[in-house]
Symmetry: C2
């Protein structure tokens, strides 16, 4: 009987992040199956948490190993260096996002609006589900040597291309009004990217609600009229 939707009356200031922490969420999960009973998995999860919280440069090998319940020797049995731990996290993060973006397009009809909304929704959901991974992927890539970041940047460009392709298709069809492709890309990407930094279970919105809202924002940015239910 009481199946009515609960209206959110949460004020903006109530869910504002008033701490200096870089990330609100505490979800330390990893997408690929990492065995937490094994040392390698625990090291990755511990490093992910600490890198997201304190940055790569602000985290020591002993910090990681202490949190993982592992000796430094064990870490160096699984990774050649601290930098390679970061590289693995960045690889997982970028590939997971790309995988989700691509599979979101596979499930969906060829209409440009639908495809744009699917991309934005997948972007939001991925960042809500793995916020720490997204924060590290976005804020710590510079800590990697140029050689090791090459392959990761390639994946990032593939993800960007998915959005560019959808935008160009929408323009070709005459559905989208895009005056500047780069700026449109940057704006839509920014909205999704920043989700990882402020989303938390206490923000009062479900990932679904955020995805709905931001998909609508993206649609309005490319000049589409609001959906009429």
């Amino acid at each position: 009987m009481t199946t009515q939707t609960i209206v959110l009356v949460m004020s903006v200031s109530a869910s504002r992040n008033v701490s200096n922490r870089r990330i609100v969420a505490r979800t330390t999960e990893l997408p690929e199956q990492v065995d937490l009973r094994r040392a390698r998995g625990r090291i990755l999860v511990a490093a992910l948490h600490l890198f997201a919280d304190q940055g790569y440069g602000g985290t020591s090998v002993r910090d990681i190993c202490g949190r993982a319940g592992v000796q430094p020797t064990t870490m160096y049995a699984h990774f050649p260096s601290k930098e390679d731990v970061l590289a693995e996290l960045l690889r997982i993060g970028h590939e997971e996002l790309y995988r989700r973006l691509r599979s979101a397009l596979l499930d969906v009809e060829p209409d440009p609006r639908v495809r744009l909304e699917a991309l934005v929704r997948a972007h939001v959901h991925s960042h809500c589900e793995f916020p720490m991974l997204a924060v590290v992927a976005n804020a710590e890539l510079h800590a990697l040597s140029e050689h090791k970041s090459e392959s990761i940047l390639a994946v990032r460009q593939q993800s960007e291309s998915l959005l560019v392709d959808v935008l160009e298709r929408g323009v070709q069809c005459g559905q989208f009004k895009v005056a500047d492709m780069l700026l449109t890309l940057r704006a839509i990407s920014a909205i999704g990217t920043r989700v990882a930094f402020w989303y938390g279970p206490d923000c009062g919105r479900t990932p679904e609600q955020i995805a709905d809202t931001f998909a609508a924002f993206a649609a309005s940015i490319v000049g589409l009229p609001p959906r009429s239910g």
Copy 2:
């Protein structure tokens, strides 16, 4: 038929950032008058550059002093610690943005659309003019102890409030259609915030063009129809 908007034909890939650097721009300027002939000013500029590039944890005191052409002793004569150098940069960055946002509102008529556009434009211009300062302000606040970040977070909240007030006013007037205040705030803020990370003199757009475009995006997000010139 179609609106006489000038279409930019610059390709997206031509201005894409393919390096792993956190920031594209190289503008190391500071807003408040810092005397580069004095040690204090050179230290701040050097630290700004290095913090933006390598992060706070990835930058050593000797790095800063080497780049500033100064002895560590001199740095400690001007700042109690390395952390206080960062704190000063963060203070300058946040206060400069707030100052610009507020003065943008002072120059402008009370129409909500005009005020929203003025805020977004000021946000973009500030981040284009001082990209390193904005990157450090956004990506390195976590390196500050909670005590020292209090006053800086207060300024950030004031800046956010300016946008919230404009949005609420627009809703009250019936001009804006805002289903979720927090998500609208986050989206519009995200678009402006990310500018500092990708803007560079070689991106093919002037700050003015970016400001125009993103102001239009913000307007469309709150449900306003495109401006008819």
